[in-house]
């Protein structure tokens, strides 16, 4: 009986979510960082199973900030009935470090405020490279991770949970200048002579071989003739 009530509630929730998600672009999130689809700012809809990770990716340039807002397509009470505590939303930087564990991890549902995470303003590559930060704060591919967390020790229903999220990229993209200065003179100096010599060796090998062959030919001819003349 409880199961029937739960399924009825789920049916209602999915219908309500699909109505709410009419303006959202349907998308299929990936199961890992490396397969995450790169998306543009907009509103998207997807579904996630309990305990399933979904990944999406967004390119960020210097001067930009990523803001993501996530809403589940069912109230928290119904999520709980499925064995799910909440749907967690995180942003990972290009080095996969978790930028923010959402302040409001108990996500979403129609009766609660949406989950929201925001990055800091992205630095230029050079600023980030020398920022003395242990995580990457520069431009690159940032990851959005969505994860329905299950209750401990409870059976989890296998049901697709509708989710809807909005991706906003705030701030103007700034240029990412590449410094022209060579980073450290000592290794460059030692590397510089080695590089041309190695490449010239590669290019000139046939020429040197040909010259050696011709030289050998001349030496052979002259040597034999000289030997014969001396004998005579």
């Amino acid at each position: 009986m409880r199961r029937l009530a739960l399924l009825a509630a789920l049916a209602f929730a999915v219908l309500a979510a699909s109505a709410a998600a009419q303006d959202a672009e349907p998308i299929v999130g990936a199961g890992s960082f490396t397969t995450a689809p790169i998306i543009e700012p907009g509103t998207y809809s997807d579904t996630a199973l309990p305990e399933e990770y979904l990944y999406y990716a967004v390119r960020l340039a210097p001067g930009q900030r990523l803001r993501v807002e996530l809403q589940a397509g069912m109230p928290v009470r119904e999520l709980n009935d499925l064995g799910v505590i909440s749907v967690q939303l995180n942003i990972h930087s290009p080095d996969r470090s978790k930028l923010s564990v959402n302040g409001r991890t108990s996500t979403v549902g129609n009766d609660t405020s949406p989950a929201e995470v925001t990055t800091g303003t992205v630095l230029t590559s050079e600023e980030a490279r020398t920022a003395n930060e242990r995580r990457w704060t520069g431009p690159g591919v940032y990851f959005i991770a969505v994860y329905p967390i299950a209750f401990s020790g409870r059976e989890v229903s296998k049901a697709q949970i509708p989710i809807q999220f909005t991706v906003e990229v705030e701030g103007e993209a700034q240029p990412d200048p590449t410094p022209s200065a060579t980073p450290s003179p000592a290794p460059t100096a030692s590397a510089a002579p080695a590089q041309p010599s190695s490449s010239s060796g590669d290019d000139n090998t046939p020429m040197v071989a040909a010259a050696a062959g011709v030289g050998g030919l001349l030496v052979g001819v002259v040597g034999v003739i000289a030997l014969r003349q001396r004998r005579r």
Partner: protein, 434 residues
């Protein structure tokens, strides 16, 4: 458009272009398509062909997108027995392609040979699905039902059948695509999807069927596939597995610590990450630890993060931590050279081994990182081959081989020239003597 791009990317990336894939669990997710082959599928789909034609084209497209070998099967109902014989027609449901590694040609030719004939025994088909998909293994099981009509063979009621199937297999969900269905049929198919814990998707434009089918199967097969070149970390810091830029995978038993190394030239900054992905079946709780050392063996970064098994998902199962130099090599305390890092899955997790993904990037000035296949950083050809337990001398040795070859070529040419010269000289001398 986004959906299409995302599906193609997800399918191609997750399965196709990966240089090496390992399943998180031993067993992969599997799926069964239940396809409507009833008489109504012969009706005009509004795009110049019948609905069955549209289904055939959709499967054709799907087969192109899916990689060979994913565990997929096909059950068809209503394609063999004419609808005049109700009892017989309602038993007309057959597993025409057993669930197993996808043979693209077999699936394609089977679907191409279908003709629309009979009734719509959805309930009976659903009840057969758990046996089709089997009960062994740890992967999720998904049924995707494609139908243009409602069940006309009840009992069993298809909604009840879906609920029963869902109860029998805890890891089995049923999703439904309704092709050009009316309101009454839509309600029935939605009921099946809800009872089966899946989603319902209505398709009015027959040309969109392939996209919807692919979206459902992408979700069916989606899991965290550990990617990258397989590598085994060294057991001691003096014998690390030498890594270059790219993605690598290893698997560590709980309590095991392994060593890796990356050579960092002056001016570049190492940006690595370690991601542990315990399988869905892993229980217990442990920690992922990693530590980065500079060439002078001084520790730079030490990270640890909890790893939770099933049923302890406070913060999530997948744990990821960065191992980054704080500044480019050549800066204070960061000499260029061989950087080593250790990865450890601490005891506590109950698993034989925990898959670990290691991403390594060496950033030049102005280079923006981001290891995703779609970002173009992870082509199969770009993933370098690691040299486990390689010594720093390994690289110069390779250069030496190259120059040695050059010297040999020149020497052989010179000797050949001399031999030819001697021969020519002898010939000329004999002629003069003659």
């Amino acid at each position: 458009m986004i959906l299409r791009v995302a599906i193609v990317a997800a399918l191609a990336c997750a399965f196709g272009a990966a240089p090496a894939l390992a399943q998180v669990a031993d067993d992969r997710n599997s799926a069964l398509i239940i396809l409507d082959g009833s008489k109504s599928m012969n009706e005009d789909a509004g795009n110049g062909g019948t609905r069955l034609d549209a289904a055939k084209r959709a499967v054709d497209t799907l087969v192109e997108r899916l990689p060979s070998g994913v565990p997929l099967g096909l059950r068809v109902y209503g394609s063999k027995v004419a609808e005049t014989s109700r009892a017989e027609a309602c038993r007309d449901t057959e597993l025409v392609v057993p669930v197993g590694p996808l043979d693209k040609e077999q699936l394609r030719s089977t679907v191409q040979g279908l003709t629309g004939k009979g009734r719509t025994p959805i309930g009976n088909s659903l009840l057969a699905a758990p046996d089709d998909l089997g009960s062994g293994g740890q992967g999720r099981r998904t049924v995707v039902l494609v139908s243009d009509g409602g069940d006309n063979c009840a009992p069993p009621n298809p909604c009840d059948a879906a609920e029963e199937v869902s109860r029998r297999g805890i890891d089995l969900t049923i999703s439904v695509v309704g092709l050009q269905v009316n309101e009454r049929v839509r309600r029935q198919l939605e009921c099946i999807a809800k009872a089966g814990g899946g989603t319902y998707q209505g398709v009015d434009d027959a040309d969109k069927l392939a996209d919807e089918l692919a979206a459902m199967l992408t979700r069916a097969f989606r899991s965290y596939e550990v990617e990258g070149t397989e590598v085994t970390g060294g057991s001691a810091p003096e014998q690390p597995a030498a890594l270059k830029e790219g993605l690598f995978q290893d698997a560590l038993a709980p309590g095991e610590l392994r060593w890796y190394a990356v050579d960092v030239p002056a001016g570049q900054r190492l940006l690595a990450s370690v991601t542990a992905i315990p399988s869905h079946e892993t229980s217990g709780q442990g920690r992922l630890r990693s530590e980065l050392f500079n060439p002078d063996q001084q520790p730079l970064t030490s990270r640890h993060e909890p790893l939770y098994g099933r049923g302890r998902n406070v913060a999530g199962r997948v744990a990821s931590q960065p191992l980054a130099m704080a500044a480019p090599a050549g800066s204070q305390g960061l000499p260029p050279g061989r950087y080593r890092f250790s990865v450890e899955v601490e005891r506590g997790l109950e698993a034989d081994e925990v898959p670990v993904e290691i991403a390594v990037q060496l950033l030049d000035a102005g280079e923006a990182p981001g290891l995703t296949r779609e970002a173009g950083e992870l082509g199969a050809a770009q993933t370098p081959t690691p040299t486990p337990e390689a010594t720093p001398e390994a690289a110069p040795a390779s250069d030496g081989d190259g120059s040695g070859t050059d010297v040999l070529i020149v020497a052989v040419a010179a000797l050949g020239g001399v031999a030819l010269g001697v021969g020519t000289g002898l010939l000329l001398s004999r002629r003069r003597l003659a």
